[in-house]
């Protein structure tokens, strides 16, 4: 049940590198458990503590740590977010096959199975699968552990495919440089209105499955307008992962962004 410390779940979060049989289990943090019977009965008096502490501070601290390592090694990290079935993995497969000259690594996030990591592994790119168990999003600490397994080389790209979910991942900074939201034309064009937090925090929105546009009732102009209401600075790319349309533009976007990042 708990994606943060695995306390309510025997298997917790598992992080597995494709090609290695060893599973690494995330350590269960038990420090927040009070052992029954250890309460002192004497009254030590009440004390008011003004903590003013951000609840996400722990995640944000881990995210900063990841960001520091990415910067140090000149790695561009991309957090891919979408609802399930929008074509994140297909897009990634196509990207990796067409990313000539880019040194790529992938971290896959799903509740269960190695399916996506196995698909990515077939492209020859090093990949680590995070299984969150019952968790609905990746957090920065999971990425930290995954990076230790993945060991990306300097001057590379790390793609993080988040758990398919347009709600929860919005709140969790992973330390990425860019967040990319993927929406497919088989979804409603009002997705940005329904899940504004995700679009507000994204740098780019890729509209996928464009080859299916003639068969569905999806208004691209309206979708973009809705997304811009949540985030006036969001950029757009139109793509079809299965047909390969838009992939070259997306790879070019990655190259440009990596240059911008270096020059900052």
């Amino acid at each position: 049940m708990c994606s943060t410390c695995g306390c309510d779940q025997p298997d917790g979060v598992t992080i597995t590198k494709v090609g290695e049989s060893k599973l690494s289990f995330r350590p269960v943090e038990e420090n927040h458990l009070v052992k029954p019977g250890h309460h002192h009965t004497h009254d030590s008096g009440k004390k008011i503590i003004e903590v003013e502490q951000d609840i996400l501070a722990k995640n944000n601290k881990s995210a900063q740590h990841n960001r520091f390592h990415f910067k140090e090694d000149n790695i561009v990290a991309i957090n891919l977010v979408s609802s399930p079935g929008s074509g994140k993995t297909s897009l990634l497969e196509k990207t990796l096959k067409n990313a000539e000259g880019l040194n790529c690594y992938v971290i896959e996030g799903d509740q269960q199975t190695m399916n996506d990591a196995n698909r990515i592994a077939k492209t020859g790119v090093p990949v680590v699968q995070i299984n969150t168990g019952k968790g609905c999003h990746l957090d920065a600490d999971m990425i930290h552990h995954a990076l230790h397994q993945l060991n990306p080389a300097p001057d590379s790209f790390v793609f993080i495919e988040n758990v398919g979910n347009l709600v929860c991942p919005a709140l969790f900074d992973l330390g990425e440089d860019f967040r990319v939201a993927i929406i497919s034309v088989t979804e409603g064009d009002d997705k940005p209105l329904k899940y504004p937090d995700m679009f507000e925090g994204s740098d780019l929105c890729i509209i996928n499955k464009m080859d299916l546009l003639p068969y569905v009732d999806f208004d691209i102009i309206r979708c973009k307008e809705y997304a811009r209401r949540a985030n006036p600075n969001i950029e757009f790319l139109e793509a079809s992962a299965t047909r390969g349309e838009g992939i070259a533009e997306w790879v070019e976007w990655l190259r440009e962004k990596s240059k911008e990042r270096v020059s900052v």
Partner: protein, 113 residues
């Protein structure tokens, strides 16, 4: 259901406060949650009940101070209360707004004993 992770974060903060102050438990806790923080209070309640068992927060009273979201129009500079991301500026009816409050997600204070 990221609210569970949020509650786990609150438990961590509470545990640390209890430890640092050589206390045993939390009597009450005050949270500040913005209306645009992306937290569903009902889901938080649900997660809270399950997660605080056997922790220092098990019997703590919880007070949530809701912070109403406020935006500033990037065009005309007007500041106004906002209920969702898509509200237009009441002065110039533009959609270019930036949040100035309402994203808070904080533990404000604790009473420990």
């Amino acid at each position: 259901m990221h609210e569970l992770s949020i509650v786990m974060g609150i438990i961590d903060i509470a545990e640390e406060a209890v430890k640092n102050n050589h206390a045993q438990k939390v009597d009450s806790i005050e949270l500040e949650i913005g209306t645009m923080a992306g937290v569903e209070l009902q889901a938080l309640d649900f997660a809270w009940e399950a997660a605080v068992k056997n922790t220092v927060l098990a019997n703590a009273d919880r007070e949530i101070v809701t912070i109403k979201a406020k935006a500033r129009c990037m065009d005309c500079g007007a500041e106004f209360l906002i209920h969702d991301q898509f509200e237009a500026c009441p002065m110039c009816h533009d959609f270019l707004n930036e949040f100035i409050q309402g994203k808070e997600l904080r533990v404000k204070s604790l009473v420990v004993s």
